[in-house]
Each structure stands twice: as structure tokens, then as C-alpha cells.
Symmetry: C2
Subunit: 123 residues, 2 copies
């Protein structure tokens, strides 16, 4: 009889956790090639599917759809009625999502310093 069998660890959204390390946990949520770029766009105030889709990295629409849902599931973003008063809705960051700001800033600073081909976006 195992003394300390942890079962499966889960995060708040019910997805499995690899460990109790907060870095590992953050990576379980946004550790892939696309998620933080969507969050970057959200930080810039973009809110609609087509806006994210139009970013220069060219995220495939199926991936974008999946990532947006993941952000909703984990409570990093929420849906709100579109700003233009149309029947559609947009996405915006929650406080949990906005508080990834320091991560993005640190990445931006690192990229600017060490990969000189890159340029900070105006806006």
C-alpha cells in the first residue's frame, strides 16, 4: 500500500499537472508556440478572432480556436459583447490573463536584447 500516491494532480481547469512547480504549471497552460502570442494580441487590445488571425505569425484557425477555448477554460480570457455593438462577441483578458504581462515583457526584453533581428511593435 503506497504511502503517498498522489493520484493525478490537476489544475483549476481539470487538466493534469506535471508537478507542483509553478513554472511547470504555467507552461501546462501557456507553454506552446501560440498561446502567448494570442495573449500578446489581447494585451494590445485586439479582441476578435479575425484580429488574432491577422497577426503576422499566421496562426492556423483551428489552433486559434482551440487556444481561445483553452484561455476561457483556464480563466485567462472571457467573452464580452463586441465593442461595435454587433451581434458578435469578442475576447478580453481577465485579471489572471493580464497578470501574465510581466512574462511577456520579460520575453520581449530578452528577444530585443539577444535576437537583434527583432523589433518591438509600435502599438
Amino acid at each position: 500500500m503506497p504511502k503517498n500516491q498522489p493520484g493525478k494532480l490537476k489544475n483549476k481547469a481539470g487538466d493534469p499537472l506535471r508537478s507542483l512547480c509553478p513554472v511547470a504549471c504555467a507552461l501546462d497552460i501557456c507553454g506552446d508556440r501560440w498561446t502567448l502570442l494570442v495573449i500578446r494580441d489581447l494585451m494590445f487590445g485586439r479582441s476578435r478572432f479575425k484580429d488574432f488571425s491577422a497577426s503576422p505569425e499566421g496562426i492556423p484557425t483551428n489552433i486559434l480556436s482551440e487556444r481561445l477555448n483553452r484561455l476561457l477554460r483556464h480563466g485567462l480570457a472571457e467573452q464580452v459583447p463586441a465593442a461595435d455593438g454587433s451581434m458578435r462577441y469578442g475576447y478580453q483578458l481577465t485579471e489572471k490573463g493580464r497578470s501574465l504581462g510581466p512574462v511577456l515583457e520579460a520575453m520581449r526584453d530578452w528577444g530585443l536584447k539577444w535576437e537583434p533581428t527583432t523589433k518591438a511593435m509600435i502599438q
Copy 2:
């Protein structure tokens, strides 16, 4: 004749870049589930293959091998003779790798704040 055909953008290691955004560029290098965990271990002073392999997240050895090589290619880590004077060598961060510290710290802080199951590692 296209006026501004960019060809393929590449970063310093010759890998293709998705855009000029420094965040996208950082993610091209370490935007996956494992790379930043290896860097975390390196920050903690771990240096040998078996050390990374023993971390609680359980990185598969083939992935670890590939990621270590990528860190070398991009100049985030370098190989040095092992500290114990044996014939083997270890890995350690370069300045470029160490300067990802703020990214890891921001992720750690975020994880601790928003995913309360997590715990900061005592080393």
C-alpha cells in the same frame, strides 16, 4: 517583381522566424512544454543529463536530448567539463541563457499567485 519579399527570416541559429516580434522570436526558441523547465533546472545549478531527467516532470530522454542540443545551437547553454573531474561533461547556461531569469521569475510568480496548488521549490 515583388517589392518587399522578405525571403525566409531566420534567427541566429538559422531556424526560421515567424515574425520580427521579439516575443514570437523567444517562443520560437523556448516556446514549448519542456525547454524552460530545463533552463529552470540549469538555473538551479543542475548540469547533468541525469539531473534534468530526474526532475519531477519526467521529461522523456529523447526530448531532453533534443532540447539540450537546441539550447547549445542557440547559445543559451554550453558544455563544460563535469565538476567532479570525470571524463564526462555537463551543461551550463551562458549569459544569454541566464538572462531568461526574469521570464522564469515572472512565470513562477504568476503560477504561485493564480494556481494555488503550486509551490515554489526550495531549490
